[in-house]
């Protein structure tokens, strides 16, 4: 009797083990299913309009088939350009502060705030950019969109810069200082140069995320059906086009929304490839 109970417990434990472990395996499979579904539909539906026109022509008026989104592609690039132009220096310099001088209470506070800031919804950042840039200027502009994207990038870049600089072995720094190089030159030309690859990856992550943002652009950069590269005027972006075209009751607009999504994903991938190429190791 005694032995049977023991055996039962043993088999029950064995069975629970197998069941729970296979459940976690199945869950892992389920998790990546949406990923493949999203990719599958984006490629399948997006391929319809993926031709040279899409990259070279402007959107056509309602009811007229064809056309492309060259203005939105250029607009997205301009927007992340402005965002990066403001966000990268601010993020990198504050990250350098955190790693080089941030071992005090103020450093801990900034580190914590940067973490908290990365959790602020992008649409709230959009509202701030609206009150900050659009209200004083009295009209929507690419600049406002760029400012919103910059604010979104800063926490990612700050924290990656800090983490990457911390990974540089301390002996590099000591070697620099032992040669009589001043501290700031050691930081900039030895430590930062060594950490550059990792930092570039962080910057890329920030830029890629910015390229995919829609919410903060809706009422800052607004969108534009015409060609415009003026940063003080509303500007088109791929994401806003996807949003507007997906809501529209026209079949060809919906299809173009899929194409825009495909192009957006391709743009983000190309961006990462370019960065990988630039930052690849020379040794």
């Amino acid at each position: 009797m005694e032995i049977t109970t023991k055996h039962l417990t043993y088999y029950r434990r064995k069975a629970t083990n197998v069941i729970m472990l296979s459940f976690s395996f199945i869950a892992a499979i389920i998790t990546i299913v949406p990923l493949f579904l999203v990719f599958y539909y984006t490629v399948k539906e997006g391929a319809t309009y993926l031709n040279l026109d899409f990259f070279t022509k402007l959107p056509t008026p309602i009811g007229e088939p064809g056309g492309g989104m060259v203005n939105a592609i250029v607009g997205t690039l301009i927007l992340i350009g402005i965002g990066g132009g403001i966000g990268i220096p601010v993020g990198m310099l504050s990250g350098i502060y955190l790693s080089e001088f941030g071992k005090n209470k103020f450093g801990a506070l900034v580190r914590f705030l940067a973490d908290v800031m990365s959790g602020i919804p992008s649409i709230v950042v959009g509202v701030v950019a609206y009150t900050l840039v659009v209200l004083p200027m009295k009209h929507f502009s690419a600049l406002a969109g760029g400012v919103a994207l910059a604010i979104l990038m800063i926490p990612t870049i700050t924290r990656t810069t800090e983490e990457m600089i911390k990974l540089v072995p301390h002996s590099y720094r000591e070697a620099g200082l032992a040669l009589g190089i001043s501290k700031w030159k050691t930081s900039l030309f030895i430590v930062l140069k060594t950490a550059w690859k990792g930092i570039a990856t962080g910057i890329l992550l920030g830029l890629a995320r910015a390229a995919g943002e829609t919410a903060p652009l809706l009422f800052t950069a607004l969108g534009n059906r015409f060609w415009s590269t003026n940063i003080f005027r509303p500007i088109a972006s791929l994401t806003v086009f996807i949003y507007e075209y997906s809501k529209a009751p026209f079949k060809d607009w919906n299809e173009q929304a899929w194409t825009a999504a495909l192009v957006l994903i391709m743009l983000i991938s190309v961006l990462s490839l370019v960065f990988k190429f630039i930052t690849r190791s020379k040794y």
Binding site: A28, L35, L93, G119, I120, E213, A215, Y243
Partner: protein, 352 residues
């Protein structure tokens, strides 16, 4: 004060005096001061203001400090900017903004409650779906998967987070919503005909669709942070459990118990993300500010209302009510994030 110190200070003051007299008497010297070949004088003066440090070091430290302060001020500035721009609505509605249930732009009667309700319910729905799945994935990645499977699988789950939310929304409109409308929702209504949660015609654009799409978006966060937390639990704990004859699942349970506050942090971070998520939700949730028990009816979230109505706000009061909505969302997410970060930090530090 010792005599030496007094002497030092008086000497220092004297140098300054001499400099001032020099400057007053010959203004051209100011411009040439740093260029002048009087090395001894120059280095003495610089040493007086800089102490032992190099000028470049000081500039470098101050410059980076300036930007760190900028990041610090940015958060405060954001809160202040939204507060000052929503004063009109704060003064008019006061606390009623959080309690009453109508959002009516035509009558200019605004209340955030329906949106707060929609935000929280859709986020909770997302957690109900994403937490069991996300934690299972985390367990699989941290405890079970062989190395050759772990890397690509982690990469794929993180790729989920890299897809822009508007693309999820697009997919939601054309794939998820029709599927929910034609398959899932009729099924739920047949199974639970009397449940108050599944009332109303299945339309597809509703709270359920919002919750499902959100769950896909928060899954990567929950699974990757929990995986890191589980991995930070030291191996001797696992070895001890194996040594006592535990099965793999029992070992996992032990590890899990020891990491629970960090995992709670991961879940709360996921919740914070769901609360602030905008595009994917606004595209599928139906955008109607109402409070109902049924998850098959359209709803609206704070972020969704902002995305929909902000550029159409016709009056100053309307605009300031929307900015107050943004302020509420800001405060909610800040609180959630602070809480979650503290939990995750606490667990990870515990094992260091």
């Amino acid at each position: 004060m010792t005599n030496a110190k007094v002497f030092q200070i008086s000497r220092f003051l004297k140098t300054i005096e001499v400099e001032l007299v020099n400057i007053r008497e010959s203004p051209a010297e100011i411009q040439n001061f740093f260029k002048k070949s009087d090395e001894k004088k120059r280095s003495r003066f610089l040493k007086k203001i800089l102490g032992d440090k190099n000028l470049g070091d000081i500039v470098f430290e101050r410059l980076t400090l300036l930007f760190a302060v900028l990041v610090f001020l940015l958060v405060l500035f954001m809160a202040w900017e939204m507060y000052s721009n929503s004063e009109l609505s704060i003064n008019k509605f006061g606390w009623k903004f959080l309690i009453t249930t109508t959002w009516d732009p035509y009558a200019e009667n605004f209340s955030a409650l329906p949106m707060i309700f929609g935000t929280i319910v859709s986020s909770l729905l997302a957690l109900i779906i994403a937490v069991p799945l996300g934690l299972s994935v985390a367990i699989f990645l941290a405890e079970l998967a062989p190395a050759w499977l772990e890397k690509p699988l982690s990469f794929l789950t993180e790729l989920l987070a890299a897809i822009p939310s508007v693309v999820y929304g697009l997919w939601g409109i054309f794939v998820l919503v029709p599927w929910l409308r034609d398959v899932v929702e009729p099924f739920l209504q047949n199974q639970f005909p009397n449940s108050p949660f599944f009332q109303g015609a299945p339309y597809g654009y509703d709270m359920l669709a919002g919750g499902v799409i959100l769950s896909i978006m928060v899954l990567p966060i929950i699974s990757s942070i929990s995986r890191d937390v589980l991995k930070s639990v030291p191996d001797p704990l696992r070895e001890a459990a194996y040594g006592l004859g535990a099965t793999k699942w029992e070992v996992t349970k032990t590890v899990f118990t020891n990491a629970r506050s960090g995992i709670l942090g991961a879940i709360i971070l996921g919740f914070g993300r769901a609360v602030g998520e905008t595009m994917a939700v606004v595209m599928v949730i139906g955008s109607r500010p109402q409070i109902t028990a049924s998850i098959l009816k359209p709803a609206s979230t704070i972020a969704g209302a902002l995305a929909n109505e902000f550029s159409e706000a016709s009056s100053d009061l309307y605009l300031s009510a929307l900015i107050e909505l943004a302020l509420i969302l800001f405060v909610i997410t800040i609180i959630i994030n602070i809480f979650a970060r503290l939990l995750v930090w606490g667990t990870e530090r515990r094992w260091k």
